[in-house]
Symmetry: C2
C-alpha cells in the first residue's frame, strides 16, 4: 500500500458530506438493527458492481437499471438486512419500488435517485409496512458520524461489523475514503449476501469512477471465497462526491480504494462461517494478472486445501493439484512453493522441510480469524512471468458443516 494513505477510525461517513444511519425497523425477529441509509451529497457520482447470478433479487435488477440512467445523480441507498427479497415473485419488485418511492418522497428527491439493497432470508417477503413506518425515524437519525450505526444495521449473521477508512494528502488536499461491508456469515441458511459500500470526498467523472471501482472490486471482493457459493444479492455501491480530483491523482485514489476494499474483503473471509483463520494465497510468475488470480482463486476455494489448513497440515500435494486444475498452463518444473516462511518446493521438486514447524506456523494462526490480523499465507511461484495475483479465504471446518446442516426449514 502506498505510504500516502493512512488508516483512520470510522467508515463510510469519514468522507465529507456523507450522512448515514442505522436502526431497528422490526424486520429481524431478533430486534437487532436491520435498516441502514447512506445519503450522498449533491453532485455525487455512483458506481456499482452486482452479482452475476441469474437468480438475482429484484432489488439488484432495480439498482442495475437505475444506475444505467442516474449514475451521475444517485443520492441515496437504503439497505435492509432481514430478508433478501429474492425469489419472492412480483412482490419483490413492487416492494423495492414502494420503499424507494417513499424514501425519495421523504428526502425530497426523485425515486430514480434511490438505490435499495437487501440481504437475509431468500424467498420471504420484506415486512414492508414495518420498513415504510420506520423511514421517518431512519431519516431523522441521519448524521455525519452515522457510519458505524449503518455498518451494524447491514449485518445478518456476521460476528463483527466491518468498516475501514483511510486518508491521504493528494495535491495539497486531504482526501478521505471509507467503506463498510457485510459477509457471507450464513449461520442461518439462505443468508449468503456480500454487500459493500465505499465513499470518497473528491469528485471525478462517472465513467472514470465506474472503471476504477470495477478494477478495485476485481482484486478485492471478487478475490474472496468462503464456500464458492455466490449469492442472489451480492452488491457493491460506491459514491464519489466533492471537488474534482485532478486526473494525475487518480492512480493514487485507486491505490487507496484498493487497500480499503481489500481490507473489507479480507474481513469478510476472516468472518466466514466456521472460519478459524484467514487464508491468503499469492501466485507469482504468470504471463498476466488474470492468470495469477485464477490460480490463486482455485487454490483458496479448494475444499481439500481448506480442510488441510483446518488440520494444520502443510499438504503441498493438494495445493499443486488445485493449481493444476485452474486452467492456466504452466511448467511443473518451474514451481516453487512456500507456506509462510517455509519453502516446500523448489524448481518443481519437493524439498525436505520441517513439517512440524510448518504445521506450527498454521496452528499459531488458527485462533479465531475475526479477532486478529494474522493470516495463513501460501505463496506459489509458477514461472518467470512478471505478474502476480492474490485471493483470500478461510479454513473449512466441521463447524461450517454443522452451521449449514443443522438448520431445518
Amino acid at each position: 500500500m502506498s505510504s500516502k494513505w493512512s488508516p483512520i477510525p470510522g467508515g463510510i461517513t469519514v468522507a465529507r458530506g456523507f450522512k448515514a444511519s442505522g436502526i431497528s425497523a422490526g424486520l429481524k425477529s431478533s430486534g437487532k438493527p436491520d435498516l441502514a441509509l447512506l445519503v450522498a451529497p449533491k453532485g455525487a457520482v455512483c458506481a456499482g458492481t452486482f452479482t452475476q447470478s441469474l437468480a438475482r433479487a429484484a432489488c439488484v435488477d432495480l439498482c442495475i437499471e437505475r444506475l444505467k440512467v442516474t449514475a451521475g445523480r444517485t443520492r441515496a441507498v437504503l439497505i435492509n438486512s432481514g430478508q433478501a427479497n429474492a425469489c419472492t415473485g412480483d412482490r419483490g419488485l413492487i416492494d423495492s419500488l414502494r420503499a424507494t418511492q417513499a424514501l425519495a418522497d421523504q428526502l425530497g428527491l426523485m425515486p430514480d435517485e434511490m438505490l435499495i439493497c437487501s440481504t437475509g432470508v431468500i424467498g420471504v417477503p420484506i415486512p414492508i409496512h414495518n420498513l415504510l413506518a420506520s423511514l421517518e425515524h431512519l431519516i431523522d437519525s441521519l448524521n455525519e458520524g452515522g457510519g458505524s450505526d449503518a455498518a451494524k444495521a447491514i449485518l445478518t449473521t456476521d460476528l463483527v461489523d466491518k468498516q475501514f477508512a483511510f486518508e491521504a494528502n493528494l495535491g495539497g488536499r486531504c482526501v478521505h475514503i471509507g467503506g463498510m461491508a457485510k459477509g457471507s456469515g450464513m449461520i442461518h441458511p439462505n443468508m449468503s449476501t456480500m454487500l459493500g459500500y465505499l465513499t470518497c470526498d473528491v469528485g471525478l467523472p462517472v465513467d472514470a469512477w465506474q472503471s476504477m471501482v470495477t478494477r478495485v472490486v476485481e482484486n478485492s471482493f471478487n478475490a474472496v471465497s468462503v464456500d464458492g457459493d455466490s449469492s442472489t444479492n451480492d452488491s457493491l455501491v460506491a459514491f464519489a462526491a466533492g471537488e474534482t480530483l485532478a486526473a494525475e491523482y487518480w492512480d493514487d485514489l485507486e491505490e487507496g480504494l484498493m487497500a480499503l476494499a481489500q481490507h473489507l474483503a479480507k474481513a469478510i473471509a476472516r468472518d466466514g462461517e466456521g472460519a478459524n483463520c484467514l487464508l491468503e494465497v499469492v501466485v507469482k510468475g504468470t504471463a498476466s494478472a488474470a492468470e495469477a488470480q485464477r490460480i490463486a482463486r482455485t487454490i483458496v476455494s479448494s475444499a481439500l486445501v481448506k480442510t488441510a489448513v483446518h488440520g494444520c497440515d502443510p499438504n503441498w500435494g493438494r495445493i499443486l493439484a488445485a493449481a493444476g486444475r485452474a486452467g492456466v498452463k504452466f511448467m511443473p518444473e518451474d514451481v516453487c512453493l512456500w507456506i509462510g516462511p517455509i519453502q516446500l518446493m523448489e524448481a518443481g521438486k519437493p524439498l525436505r522441510f520441517d513439517a512440524h514447524a510448518a504445521s506450527r506456523y498454521i496452528k499459531e494462526r488458527m485462533n479465531g480469524a475475526y479477532l486478529n490480523d494474522d493470516c495463513v499465507s501460501i505463496c506459489l511461484v509458477i514461472g518467470h512471468g512478471i505478474w502476480e495475483g492474490s485471493a483470500w479465504g478461510c479454513d473449512l471446518s466441521d463447524q461450517y458443516v454443522r452451521i449449514n446442516a443443522d438448520y431445518t426449514t
Copy 2:
C-alpha cells in the same frame, strides 16, 4: 436404459478374451492388494480420457503419448494403487518407463503397447523394486475371471470395490461390456484419483471407439463430483476387442456403455468421503444438453446444497442460488423444482409444501450411501427447451472435514 441390456455379475473380464489379475506387491504398507493388470486380446483398440490437470502425473503423460501412436494396438494396462507417482520429478517418468518395459518383456509384447496408471499418495515415488519383483506373480495370476481381483487391487481408501457388467443381443450376437472404477475416497490425504476401466468384446474402428468413449465419459465420470477437486491422475481406459460390430448397432453399444459408466460414476459418488447419500440432480428444459449439465454440476457441487442435504433440509433457496450462478441464462419465472416426489416451486413461485415430508424423504435416503441403491433426487425444470442433463454427488458431512483435516503430514 435400453431394455436390450441386462445386468450380469462381474466386471472387466466378462468381455471375452480379456484377462486380469490383482495382487499385493508391497506398495501399500497395509499389505492390501495394490497392483492390477488388464490384458486385452490381440486386435483390441483402446481409447482413453485423462485428467485436465496441468500438474498431472508422469504416467498420465506416458498414456497420452502412447495412445496417440498405439491406440490401435494397445494390449495391457498396469495399475498400481500405493503411490500416485505425481510430483516426483524425473523419477516419475523413469519409473513408469521401467515398469512398462519390464511388463512388455515378460508378456512378449512391445513397451509402447503397455499403459500404466497410478493412484495413491502424491509426491512419494513408487517402491519400484517391489513392483518389478512382483510382475511375474501378477502375470501368472492372469485369468478370465480375474476382474474381481483387479477391481480390489486398484482401490485406495474406497470402502467398497466398484464393478459392473451388462450383456445384450445385438444383431444375433451376445455382446458383453464390463467395467471397474475406484473413487476419490480421500480418507487419507492426497489420494484423490478417479480411475476407470471399460471392456467390450466386439470390435470397431479406433476413432469411432474413442469418440464413443469420450461422449460416454462426459455424461458419467465427468458428471460426478465429491468435492470439486479433480486430481493429478484421473484416467479412464477403455478396450474394445472382438469381431467387428456393424455400425447399425453402435448406438446400442453406446447406450450400454453409458449405463455401465453411469453405474460406476454413481458408485464413486456413493462412496465419496464422509458421504451418507447419493445426490442426483436432473436439470430439464434447456436449449442444449451442455447447458443442463452445467447447471446440474453446479448444483451438485455447491457446498451449501450439499450441507443442506446432509441436514435433511429441503432448502430450495440454495438450489436456486446455485443454478443462478452456473452461467446459463434462464428466466426465473419459468423455474419448477422438485425434491423427490415433492414439488417446491411452480413457474418461479415458491409453493407451500410439506417441509416435514420433504425432510423425511431426504432422511430416509441418508443411511450409508455405498450400501444401497437409494438416492436423493433433485429435479429442476428451467425452461421450455427439450434438453436435459444429470450430475451426481453426495452430501457434505462433518465427517468429510474430519477425514481431510485430521491427518498431519
